[in-house]
């Protein structure tokens, strides 16, 4: 019995998908062959580069930088808006193709997935050959290219698909670690972000190999249990299985939004928090959870960030109650500086089969529960905007915010 794990990653996903779609619709130019980016709407202050073409990369344009800065680097830059519905379709079409080869596919985000190939008996195929077959099928039928990493577990497959792009297959098995993975900078490792790599540099660890061989106790002293995770990843150890369902370990649910204008008054901020509470509350109830902890975060117009949280005496999922707590947290947190972005998060999740009541709360949850249930049902049937609170009328704010505006859109996650 042989088991192989593939990690399939779309090259410059948003840009490739928009480019392929435009060609299909009769556009003469391929966005991938000119300096181009997929960017958000600048008027609503979501104007950052979401994806870039290879020619745009040569101008030094980075994903995540403001469109304004990108235009300065390349004046004739072509900017196209994102089309999340198209991206969902492209992603699903890719998974449909992959499922011809294996039933066990885990969609890890909109543009990447893990595939488990279990070979039993004498019918053993070369995994690299199989990866090439899949890669070519995707580019022939769907008009975009992917990178495929082949290994025995998820972390190594993921690292392998990131080696050299585009349209390539790489292997990274345990015996290849020293040669292929360990010389890479430590910041390339999955889960090692900007902050962690900075701390590792101070400890004299610059490559993945140095992290793999570093003293575990010393790392534990600096990173606590996170040290075990990154060190086992550096050693190519990851026991996590390829899962059909990508959401087994929800620890919390949160939404945040960048407001179109700087928020200067508490009443406006309350409104934004209410629209966030609507989406967080709905998500909690849809998943059958109650939350025991509510946190509010504020990003100021100068990009300062702070947050504050409160442990509830009873776990609950009522939209109004979440909003009430959020307002209290906001009042304690806010010092009057203009606000750019607000976030609301519910964690310490419990299932809502039984709900603990409290003598200390005078809040009437039973009425709220009925109201939330009715609102959820109406929205489920007629859409998110079918019913809304009157306070949002003429406010210029959306009655429900958070997410990308496309339901069930698979976003990035840090859990393999």
């Amino acid at each position: 019995m042989n088991r192989y794990i593939f990690h399939i990653d779309v090259n410059a996903a948003y840009l490739s998908w928009s480019a392929a779609y435009r060609l299909q619709q009769g556009d003469a130019v391929d966005l991938r062959s000119i300096p181009s980016v997929v960017g958000g709407n600048e008027k609503s202050r979501h104007g950052i580069v979401l994806a870039k073409s290879t020619p745009a990369k040569q101008y030094g344009i980075h994903t995540g930088e403001p469109l304004m800065a990108a235009r300065q680097k390349c004046p004739n830059l072509m900017v196209v808006p994102p089309d999340y519905n198209l991206y969902m379709k492209a992603s699903q079409a890719m998974i449909d193709i992959i499922q011809r080869y294996s039933p066990l596919v885990q969609q890890f985000s909109v543009d990447e997935c893990f595939v488990d190939f279990l070979q039993i008996g004498s019918d053993k195929k070369d995994p690299v050959l199989l990866a090439h077959t899949i890669k070519d099928a995707i580019s022939d039928e769907l008009g975009f290219t992917v990178n495929i990493g082949v290994s025995h577990n998820k972390i190594l497959a993921k690292m392998a698909s990131d080696f050299k792009k585009p349209n390539l297959v790489h292997t990274l098995f345990s015996h290849e670690l020293e040669e292929k993975l360990w010389p890479l900078p430590v910041s390339d490792l999955f889960m090692v972000g900007r902050q962690t790599s900075k701390k590792l540099y101070y400890l004299g660890i610059t490559t993945i190999g140095e992290l793999a061989k570093a003293d575990t106790d010393m790392l534990y002293g600096h990173f606590k249990s996170f040290a075990h995770l990154i060190q086992s990843y550096a050693n190519g150890v990851d026991p996590s299985p390829v899962r059909k369902n990508n959401h087994p370990l929800v620890k919390g649910m949160g939404n945040s939004t960048t407001v179109k204008f700087d928020v200067l008054e508490a009443t406006t901020a309350y409104q934004v928090l209410l629209s966030l509470a609507e989406s967080v509350g709905m998500r909690l109830r849809a998943a059958g959870f109650c939350a025991g902890l509510i946190a509010v975060s504020i990003t100021s117009a100068t990009f300062g960030h702070k947050s504050h949280q409160y442990k509830l005496s009873v776990a609950m999922n009522s939209t109004s109650y979440i909003h009430q707590v959020a307002r209290r947290l906001f009042d304690e947190l806010w010092d009057g500086t203009p606000i750019r972005k607000l976030g609301l998060r519910a964690s310490d999740l419990h299932t809502n089969d039984y709900v603990q009541l409290s003598f200390l709360e005078d809040y009437d949850f039973s009425r709220d529960r009925l109201l939330d249930l009715a609102v959820d049902r109406i929205r489920g049937r007629y859409g998110l905007t079918s019913i809304q609170r009157a306070s949002f009328l003429h406010s210029g704010l959306k009655p429900v915010t958070g997410g990308i505006g496309v339901e069930d859109y698979p976003v990035m996650t840090s859990i393999l």
Binding site: W17, A20, L86, A90, E141, G143
Partner: protein
């Protein structure tokens, strides 16, 4: 054939099993004139799934000023729009 990708009005016929056949279409020229063409023969029908967007491509024959011409007509399944793609 040259790509023109021009939206058209179409009368089509759909079989019981879902197979679609373009029958005749109306196109508005640059001068604002509306002309009707009949699809004389369909040579190939292909399902294009580029970027996951499903589009039927029909290679067919039409008559323009008594001249038989080959063209490609496309039908976008999601937007239900017909396009004279190439002629």
């Amino acid at each position: 054939m040259k790509t023109i990708a021009k939206p058209i009005e179409m009368i089509s016929w759909t079989e019981e099993d879902g197979r679609i056949h373009p029958v005749k279409f109306k196109i508005t020229t640059h001068e604002g004139e509306r002309q009707v063409y009949r699809v004389l023969q369909i040579y190939t029908t292909e399902l294009d799934r580029v970027a996951g967007n499903k589009v039927y491509r029909f290679t067919c024959e039409i008559a323009i000023n008594a001249m038989i011409k080959l063209c490609e007509i496309r039908y976008d399944l999601d937007s239900c729009r017909w396009v004279l793609f190439k002629i």
